[in-house]
Each structure stands twice: as C-alpha cells, then as structure tokens.
Amino acid sequence: MQRTISFTLNGKPERVTVDDERMLLWVLRGDLGLTGTKFGCGEAVCGACTVIVDKEPVRSCSVPVKDIAGKQVLTIEGLGHDGKLHPIQEAFVKHHALQCGYCTPGMILSAYALLLKTPRPTEAEIVRHMDDNLCRCGSYPRIVAAIGEAAAGTKSGAR
C-alpha cells in the first residue's frame, strides 16, 4: 500500500511516501540515496545490508519499510559524529579489518549493536554475535580484534 512513513534516520526526521511493503534496503539505497548499506544476498543471510533499528541489528533487505514507522534507523552514514569516526570505525581502520570493504558497513553496524548490549564482550561472544555476517575476503580475525579493541577503548563500549 502506498503511504507515507515517518521515522528517524541517522538522528533526523525522515518521511518517505512509498509502497509500504518495499524493503528498507531499497528505500535507503534507491529513494534516499544512502548507498553505504549494501545488497549481498537479499535473503537476510550475509549481513551486508545490516542497519540498526531501535538499537537492534536488522537485515534491511528483509524488513518492510512499514515496520520502521516511528522508529530510529541508524545506517553507516550516521555512525560518526561531527566528522569524527566512531571508535568501531577507527578500530577497523587501525586493524586493517577490511579488504574489499563491501561487507564492512554491515560488519561495523553488527558490532555496534553488540557493544550496545554487551559493552565488554569476550572473544567468544564477538564470534557468536558476528557469525551471520559474511566476509569472503576472510578478514574475520582482524574484525574480531578491531571489535575487541573498540570495546576496550570506550567506557561503555559503544556510544
């Protein structure tokens, strides 16, 4: 059904008038021009399209836009503040926790969600939480290290 959906996107009010069954991924990428959220599988399996909705990580390829009405959506474009990288982003750069970079936005937002709930995760907790995000380049060991450092470097984990 075509209707207007209001939500908060990266801290600012946003309204889109669209078929409300359309998936959030395509509304973000196509209608709102936020291409940092990636298409990888379209089946909620690879995690490349991960965004945060009300502090929870969701696979935006499989969330209809009607489900986000009135909610807070955070994409990779909204993670840093005042031109500064978020500690997780900083840690990914420092640890070279990326290769082609395509899965990176989804990795970082999944990690962000983890640190919101578990500010000081153990390595096993990081692995368990991140296990449904796929990286074909094989940057997993460095991503784990980066998340561990980001967690250790902030008072409450993520902001």
């Binding site: 940092g36 990636k38 298409f39 899965c103 796929l134 990286c135 940057s139």
Partner: protein, 709 residues
C-alpha cells in the same frame, strides 16, 4: 619496449629464468591473442601525474578488489619519487585515464607493477632533479630531495616538484635511471595505512552498484531455469501492468524500473516456459565425464624413467584425487551501469579486466573501442570470478550496455545472489592421478602425475625425484576445453590449478611419508634441495612447534608445502579437531610461512595470507557446487556454506625477508595449501585419508566408518 620484455630482462638478470616461463604460462592461459594485445607504455607520464597542488596521481589499469594494490603501488611510487605516501592518490581500472593493462589476476599486480611504478617514479625523480639543477643553477650532485621538494643546501634555495611541473606532462626523459636499493627504501617494506579504508568504514566508497546516473533504470533479466534451456513462450503483460518497462533485445528479455526492488517484483510477474536440455553430467558423474571428454594430455616435465624407478620400489602408491566445482561467491555480485550518450558508452563494471571488457563490448556492440570508456570502481571481491576468460566474460556489462542502447537511458544491472551462482565461472572440477614408488630406504624413486581439467600450474613437483613424468589435460579457462566438457563456464579461482595440484601432491607426499614411517616434515626435507622452500619449512616447524613423529599421532597436526607459479614458496601447518561422531572438522590453528621475494607492504601481505587461509578452508571443507541436468542446485549461502567467523582458527603468518628476489605477489598462494594441510591433519588426528574435496562431515563420517568397518 614492452613490459614483458622489461621484466624478462630483469628476471634474467636476477638469474632466475624460471620466472619468465611461469609468467608466460599465465599469459598464455588467460590472454587474448597477441595480435589484439596492446603493450604497456614506456613513457612514465602514463603512470604518474604531479598536480599543481603537489598531489601525485598513480595510474594503473589493474583494479583494487581488496588485495591492497592501491596501498602497495602508492608506496612504490612514493618511495622512488621521494614524495610523502599520503600525497599519492591511485586511479585504477579506468580505460580513459589509465594505460592499457592485461587484467588483474595471477597475483601479478605487485609482481609487475611494483617495478613499473618504481621505474616511473625513479625516472621522474631524476628528470625533476635535472630540471631543478638548471633552475637553481646548482650541480645535481649537490641537491637533496625530500617530500617532493628539491633543495640546494649550499645556496639555501629550494623548489618543489609542483612548481616545476605545474600539473603538466613532463616532456624530458632519461634512460637507465637506477632504482633504490633495499637499504634506501623509505616506504617499501614498511606497512602503510590502507588507502580507501576511511571511505570504506564510513560507507562512502562507491562500488559499481552504488553508481547512480540521472534517469537510470534498474534492469532485471529473465533467466533460464537451467543451463542449456531454451525459451518456448513468455508473457510479460503482468510486469508491464505493474509499471515496469519491458525490453526485448538480442535474446534478452528485461524488465526495467527506476527502483531496483520494483523491477525485482515485476520480473516475478513474467510468465515463461522453457524447454530443458537432455540430461548431462551431474555432480557425481562429472569426474568420469571429465576423464572421457578431456583434451589430450600434454607433457609438462619429464626426468629419468618412472618405469625404471618403479623397479627399485618396495611400495607403489597410487591414488586418485578429486575436487568439485567451487564458486567465487564475492559478497558484491556482478554489477554494471551503462550510459549511452552522443554515440559514446560509459560503462562502470565490477570486473578484474577492464580493458578486455572495453574490447569485448566494442566487438559485441559493433562500435569502435574508442567510443567506450570502462570505469572500474573498487571491486567488492573478485578472486578470479570477475576475470574475463570468455568472450562474454563480463556478461553483466554486455547486458547493461545493450539495454542502455535499446532504451536510450542509463541502465544498471546488478545480479542477485542466484544469478551470481548460476553464471559463475567456477573453478573446474578436476581429477588427479598420482602413482609413486617408494624405496625400502624411504626415498621416492618414481612419480607419475596426471592432472585432468584443473590446469598445469604448479603440477610439476618441487621435490627431487629421480624418475618423474607430469602431464596435464585441459586448463582452467573455457577456451582450453572442448565444448561440452564442462557443463558451465569455468575460470581461474584464487590460485587456479595450484590449489588442486597442491592438494594432490602434498596429500600423496604424506601417504608416502606414513608408508615410510617417517615424520612428514623430515620426509619432505629428505626430498628437497630448493633452498627457499627448505628455509620456509624449517621456519614453519620452529614457529609452529612441530614435534617430529610418524603420522597418525592423534594430535591432528598437518603440513603442506607450496610453490606458486614457481615464484613464491610457502609452508602451512595446521592443527585440527575432528568430531568422530558428526564428522565435523574444526581448524584450530594455522601457521603460514611465506617467501614471496621482496615484500612491499608487510601488513598488507599478512592480510592476504590470512584471507587466503580463511577462503581456502571453504573449498577444503564445505564448498561444492551441486548440479544436475544443467541446474545449479546450490545458489545461496545456506546451501553453499562459505567460511564464517566461527570457523576461524588462530592464524599466525610469517614473511621471510628476501628483498633480493623480485616480488612475486601473495594474493593467491596462501589458499593453495589449505586442502592438503587440512587433509593431512585429519589423517594425523583420526587415521583417515580423504581423497576428495571438500572434506564434508558426510565424507569424513563415511571414511571413519570405513576405517572401523
């Protein structure tokens, strides 16, 4: 002079004739005919520009796909030119801005272009010094250069590169400018910040699918259900009613809409009926099919007489090793955007071979190559899957360009995950037969090695065996097989042929070592004179803490040696745990020692080693294309599991310091030892010998039952 000649001369000068042969093999396997192949420019201006603001642009026709070329090549250029690393920007894979290139693959980026950019930087620096000497009226010998500034301490005068060049071409040239020696390196050999990392972590990096052109339509294309199917009838009425534009052109039926997901939904409304082909081989019958349909084998190498050798043997060990088709499965699917304006095509493509795409598009569209510009943004993973080894290799670019011409609008084609699996140029399934004779004294006295369908790369054993013969039938490109031999496209997959050949050779070595009752490391050393590999093996033993013993020991440790294109040397050791009940194999620890010659970026190299190890676990343990009647049965990550966080072992990588040997590149090699090192560790753990990849829980369980039964 061509780059090929330059390199040949260098490598010959280094006294390593083997390099030439190996490179030629790579080119023969993957390149278009020589007549169609342009050559690399000799003018250094083709590879670098110095802007009026002092920023330096490096121009290379290869692409960045996660292997860290932008970083390493910028290091090479900045080091020789004597400018800050941060002042260098790399432009890659743009056919209008960059000089022609052969394509990205074979771990050749650093191997070839570290030298090209170093030479360009060194010559430009020498020319700039000469110009500065004239302008400052000082002898060249007195001048100092640092960070793009030439200074004359005697007169306390200085001039910058930017002031002299002012953004123009540098017309002056000099011959025979020496390169820096390793002792003079300022950046080469030292890890540098990853170029593009900040853009990647902030989502600013534009991949091909992120390119948006005004008026662009997203296209979804009607696909056959199986390979070889023919369309009988089609009804697109419902798709049109849903607001999509339907285009039929040159056998393509596409639905287009400015929103990708609306086009997706419309494609679902297209009703089509296809005739399926007669049943061909499936994933079980494929190995016999390959043996029957392979082209004649060619002799790769021969020494002594294996039949004579067998007469001295106390044991003959003969085995057949199999591996299945595997997919590249990059997270970024094949993507292209084509815009057709004023008779000129601009095509953004996620490809490893932009210049071949340009030529192929020109041929296919019947236009001149000059009317096509191919731009390759950062590629979201390639691994060989985005190389162009058949005339329609960059299929998605052909589709986008044809649809752009048909609609008169810019068109985006981004494959979905199913299309990515369906149209993949898989690593070929392959069969390797090895027959070896072992003397009573524990020496390999004969070795007959026959590889079918994988390719010849690294098939010749690195071990010293007095009597040996190695043959290869077919290669890993489509053009190297008779039609119908493979039921779908094949192509290079990270360490092509070498991962098949290394699995077979190193598994067989272990079988022989066990038969001889000798520790597998000692057994290899007993047959090895190659100094670089011996050093890597000894280093790995020390780093891993290898405790010599005859396998199986129950500890679950394994070893595999590798050579890649006869250039790099590596040794991998691994520890695994095998769950005898489920057959699940967990790789717990991997130590990899690599000698790739001169290392440009140590951390970048280590990242490649880690990536190759992780990716190599996939083809070793789970990855296998299932197919029947032309249908690809696994087309998603649920049915085609790839390595995940929870698989990741503790990985330790070590680079052997060998700056006197030219860089060999390390994007592919670490993947090639993974099959054998895991197979050998599984044998050590539970005494079963797996001869087929991947070593799935089912195959492990079956082998355990077989052993017990």
């Amino acid at each position: 002079m061509r780059l090929d000649d330059l390199n040949r001369r260098d490598f010959m000068a280094a006294g390593t004739g083997l390099f030439v042969f190996a490179r030629a093999e790579w080119l023969d396997a993957q390149q278009p005919p020589a007549a169609r192949r342009p050559s690399y420019p000799t003018d250094f201006n083709a590879f670098l520009r110095i802007g009026g603001d002092g920023r330096v642009t490096g121009l290379v026709g290869k692409v960045e796909m996660g292997q860290g070329e932008m970083t390493a090549l910028a290091q090479c250029l900045a080091d020789e030119l004597d400018v800050p690393y941060d002042s260098v920007d790399m432009v890659m894979g743009d056919t209008e801005l960059c000089p022609w290139d052969s394509g990205t693959g074979g771990s050749t980026c650093i191997q070839l272009f570290s030298l090209v950019l170093r030479r360009a930087g060194a010559e430009a620096r020498a020319v700039l010094l000469q110009m500065a000497a004239e302008q400052l009226q000082a002898p060249v010998e007195r001048l100092k250069v640092a960070a793009g500034v030439v200074s004359d301490p005697a007169q306390d005068k200085r001039i910058t590169y930017a002031e002299m060049v002012q953004g123009k071409r540098i017309e002056r040239h000099l011959g025979n400018v020496p390169l820096k020696s390793p002792a003079e390196f300022r950046l080469i050999g030292r890890s540098q910040p990853w170029k593009g990392a900040v853009e990647m972590v902030t989502g600013k990096t534009k991949y091909t699918g992120d390119i948006s052109v005004p008026g662009m339509l997203c296209a979804r294309i009607l696909r056959p259900p199986v390979h070889g199917a023919t369309l009988r009838e089609v009804d697109t009425t419902a798709a049109e009613k849903a607001g999509a534009q339907v285009v039929r052109t040159d056998g393509l039926i596409a639905v287009l809409h400015e929103r990708r997901d609306v086009a997706d939904a419309a494609l679902g409304l297209v009703k089509a009926r296809f005739d399926r082909p007669a049943a061909g081989p499936d994933d079980r019958t494929i190995f016999d099919h390959l043996l029957k349909n392979a082209p004649p084998a060619t002799l790769l190498g021969e020494k002594g007489d294996p039949a004579d050798g067998e007469k001295q043997a106390a044991h003959i060990v003969e085995e057949t090793y199999l591996n299945s088709y595997v997919a590249h499965a990059p997270i970024e699917t094949h993507s292209a955007v084509a815009a057709f304006e004023d008779g000129k095509f601009t095509v953004w493509v996620s490809t490893q071979w932009p210049f071949q795409v340009k030529q192929q598009l020109a041929d296919a569209l019947g236009v001149s190559p000059e009317s096509i510009r191919v731009i390759t943004p950062v590629v979201g993973g390639g691994f060989g899957g985005k190389s162009v080894t058949s005339p329609t290799g960059a299929q998605q670019a052909h589709e986008a360009a044809r649809l752009a011409r048909a609609t008169g609008k810019p068109v985006q084609v981004v494959w979905d995950r199913g299309e990515e699996f369906f149209y993949n140029n898989f690593r070929p399934a392959a069969v390797v037969k090895v027959r070896a004779g072992l003397s009573g004294a524990g020496k390999i006295v004969s070795w007959v090695y026959q590889v079918c369908a994988a390719g010849p790369r690294d098939a010749i054993s690195v071990y010293d065996i007095p009597n040996q013969r190695t043959t290869s039938a077919g290669n890993y490109t489509d053009s190297s097989h008779p039609p119908g031999m493979h039921p779908f496209r094949v192509g290079p997959w990270r360490g092509p042929a070498a991962n098949t050949n290394t699995f077979a050779r190193e598994s067989h070595l272990d079988i022989l070592a066990a038969k001889a009752g000798v520790d597998p490391v000692e057994f290899r050393l007993n047959h090895l004179t190659d100094a670089r590999l011996r050093r890597a093996l000894e280093t790995a033993s020390e780093k891993f803490g290898w405790k010599p013993a005859k396998a199986p020991t129950g500890r679950g440790v394994g070893i595999a040696c590798g050579t890649y294109k006869n250039e790099s040397r590596m040794v991998t050791m691994a520890e695994v745990a095998v769950d005898k009940r489920t057959g699940h194999v967990q790789v717990k620890r991997v130590v990899c020692v690599m000698d790739q010659g001169l290392t440009v970026n140590p951390e970048g190299s280590q990242i490649q080693l880690e990536g190759g190890i992780v990716m190599g676990m996939g083809y070793s343990l789970t990855e296998e294309i299932r197919f029947q009647g032309g249908d690809i049965l696994n087309r998603d990550f649920d049915t085609y599991p790839i390595p995940r966080f929870s698989w990741t072992p503790r990985i330790e990588t070590f680079l052997i310091d060998n700056p006197a040997t030219p860089s060999a590149g390390c994007g592919e090699p670490p993947a090639i030892t993974m099959g054998a090192v895991i197979a050998n560790a599984i044998f050590d753990a539970v005494g079963i010998r797996l001869l087929q990849l991947p070593m799935t829980p089912e195959r492990v369980r079956a082998a355990i039952q077989n052993l017990q039964g």
